[in-house]
């Protein structure tokens, strides 16, 4: 594909240097909309947002509006939210229930179910069809544009515009076990999470990649959140969260038999990464959580015992944060949420946040979780307010002609990655590192430069082996 941009020149991941252009340049941005967002698996929503047939939720894929809906057979569809006739958005609501979407401009109408001549989303109504078109319009060819691939993964809905993209589970690789840890019930049984009503959406004057790279494993930004740690908003009072052992310096409270050491785990062939534990096969000791609210603490104690029983000697992991390439991140423990960093121009993004709870948790537990999530996260969250300030001014201070000459430094831990235990194609670093940021941008550059998915298949990638071959550990 012809372009003056050669992304692999901008992302010198082997040296730990990345050009500022990728965070500020409109030209890079225009290309990534096609090359990255046009070919990646993107989070669209959650099935619990559309529980009944014909319920819909209007979401985004990249810059563009899409409609996630459910037909009469309960099958979920995602359509581009633009009329094929003259482009008008066929739905300007955020959510609702509709069997048919009728364009406000010329009243072309589209059926969620389709009919014998039209697929789901198909064109079923055209004013003055016989008189005006006189047989010259083939309705079967002018329906709403569906995504090329769609998957419901444990309730989370993902879509891809590229029919040649690998299937979702191949795309995830072993990152799947960490997404499972986010979506599965706290008692260890598969699935069972639901979204708290209402999706927070807000605009941030920052390139979208700042969010993605922060959540892929920035354990280094302790200074950013020092003020909230001093104020202590955690569910048991102290700090921001209940005590989990992140690393020896950052966390002083250690439970008696802690989980395996947390570190950075990354998937160089896929572009995903997280902070978390490698798989372990026994539950660590019970550690009390939510001690400010005894009813919730009691509930989680019971859940702990169910988890011990349900998982037995099976593999399990813990993951507080991670990013699924390119723009979906999660909080896997406290608070618990999925979010997307939607591109909104080179120097602006729109953040969307879906807060998760176990669907069968008692209302009182859900309420305490909700209150904690809201004081931690989102634009009013005491923790995340400070993140947006950093990403805002990092973006604006990188757009200058002079600043543009100097790449960012991503050299932390470079050459000290090791092979993760019991996870396929994953690298691990126990101490604070930027390994995940490096592999994320390398994967991003591969998407930017690749002509097609033929050059992107994760199973054909040498990235993982190359990093280990260069590593000194």
């Amino acid at each position: 594909m012809s372009s003056s941009i050669i992304a692999t020149d901008l992302v010198r991941h082997k040296e730990g240097k990345i050009a500022r252009d990728i965070f500020v340049s409109p030209e890079v941005y225009q290309r990534e909309l096609k090359q990255v967002f046009g070919r990646s698996w993107l989070l669209v929503g959650h099935e619990s947002q559309i529980p009944n047939k014909y319920d819909y939720f209007v979401s985004r894929m990249g810059e563009e509006s899409v409609i996630m809906t459910r037909d009469k057979t309960n099958k979920i569809h995602v359509f581009l939210n633009t009329c094929p006739h003259r482009g008008m958005k066929v739905c300007r609501y955020d959510q609702g229930n509709a069997r048919v979407f009728t364009c406000p401009y010329h009243a072309w109408s589209f059926s969620v179910d389709g009919n014998k001549n039209a697929p789901p989303g198909g064109l079923v109504g055209v004013p003055h069809f016989k008189k005006a078109y006189q047989g010259g319009l083939d309705k079967s060819k002018w329906g709403l544009v569906p995504v090329a691939q769609l998957v419901n993964y444990k309730g989370s809905i993902w879509a891809n515009w590229d029919k040649n993209a690998v299937d979702f589970e191949t795309y995830l690789g072993d990152m799947k076990i960490y997404l499972d840890a986010v979506l599965d019930h706290r008692d260890g049984t598969p699935g069972g999470s639901e979204v708290i009503g209402g999706i927070q959406k807000w605009k941030v004057p920052s390139n979208w990649k700042f969010g993605a790279e922060n959540f892929i494993g920035d354990l280094y930004h302790i200074t950013s959140h020092r003020s909230v740690d001093m104020v202590s908003i955690g569910p048991s009072g102290a700090g921001r969260r209940d005590t989990i052992k992140l690393d020896d310096e950052a966390e002083k409270h250690i439970i008696r038999k802690p989980p395996p050491r947390m570190g950075s785990i990354g998937f160089p062939n896929h572009g995903h990464g997280l902070i978390g534990t490698q798989p372990h096969y026994a539950e660590p000791d019970y550690a009390a959580s939510f001690t400010l609210t005894p009813i919730v603490e009691e509930y989680y104690k019971e859940i702990y015992h169910r988890r011990v029983e349900n998982l037995g000697k099976q593999s399990r992991v813990l993951t507080p944060v991670g990013t699924i390439f390119p723009n979906c991140s999660f909080h896997g423990m406290q608070p618990r949420a999925l979010f997307t960093w939607h591109p909104n121009g080179a120097q602006e993004m729109e953040m969307w946040k879906w807060y998760l709870v176990d669907a069968d948790a008692p209302d009182e537990v859900k309420n305490v979780l909700r209150q904690y999530y809201l004081r931690y996260a989102g634009p009013a969250g005491l923790t995340e307010q400070d993140d947006m300030e950093n990403w805002n001014y990092a973006t604006s201070a990188s757009s200058g002609a002079r600043a543009g000459l100097y790449p960012y430094n991503y050299q932390m831990g470079l050459g000290f990655e090791s092979q993760a235990t019991d996870i396929k194609d994953a690298i691990f670093t126990a101490s604070v590192t930027e390994q995940n940021q490096r592999l994320f941008y390398n994967r991003w550059a591969e998407f930017m430069d690749a002509d097609s998915w033929d050059n992107l298949h994760p199973d054909a990638s040498n990235n993982f082996h190359d990093i280990l071959a260069r590593s000194q550990s």
Binding site: I196, G198, W202, K203, R370, P379, Q385, E389
Partner: protein
């Protein structure tokens, strides 16, 4: 002047005095916030205050009552909290290292359209009234960063020995996607 018109006039004067008293309360509140006297502002809030700002959604005509705003106590929101968390917000600003408000923003609260509704109240309990107002909150920070928040507040005000306090505040911000990067100001 007849007895009844005299009573009417007396009621009207009472209502006017109450109106004036509540407006003065709001102006004082705005003064404290704009002058960054946050700890004194906290004293204007009841210990059991419910401070709630729902998310707003675009929904079809006829569905506004049911689903335009997220629900207090149940759904996601911009704020749904009590005095403890509000006090923590004030404490966080006072650390001097809360980067979202360090350096401090310049903030002005314009409060208008005050409508006071006297409510029947339990004679055993303190007097409570409902007061609605409109706000325009202006935030300017660093150089060119400017946000304008416009909306409506519906308050439950309670009369205590110390004077009026806010016992409940429902803030409707007139945005669905929040157009500001964060919400570091009080409403």
């Amino acid at each position: 002047m007849s007895q009844s018109s005299s009573n009417q006039r007396s009621d009207a004067i009472e209502a006017l005095l109450l109106q004036r008293e509540i407006e003065a309360f709001y102006y004082q509140e705005a003064e404290l916030l704009d002058e960054r006297r946050f700890e004194e502002w906290l004293d204007m809030l009841a210990e059991d205050i419910i401070y709630f700002m729902p998310l707003r959604r675009n929904v079809k005509y006829g569905e506004h009552a049911a689903s335009e705003n997220t629900r207090q106590g149940l759904d996601a929101a911009w704020f749904d909290e009590g005095k403890h968390t509000l006090t923590q917000r004030v404490a966080q600003i006072a650390t001097g290292i809360h980067w979202a408000e360090e350096p401090l923003s310049r903030v002005r609260h314009l409060v208008t359209n005050v409508q006071v509704e006297q409510r029947p109240h339990n004679t055993d309990g303190p007097m409570e009234i409902e007061a609605k107002s409109r706000f325009l909150v202006y935030r300017n920070r660093i150089n060119d960063e400017t946000d304008i928040f416009v909306g409506k507040r519906t308050d439950l005000l309670r009369h205590q020995d110390s004077g009026w306090v806010v016992a409940k505040r429902v803030i409707l911000l007139d945005q669905s996607t929040l157009l500001a990067k964060n919400l570091t100001v009080f409403f």
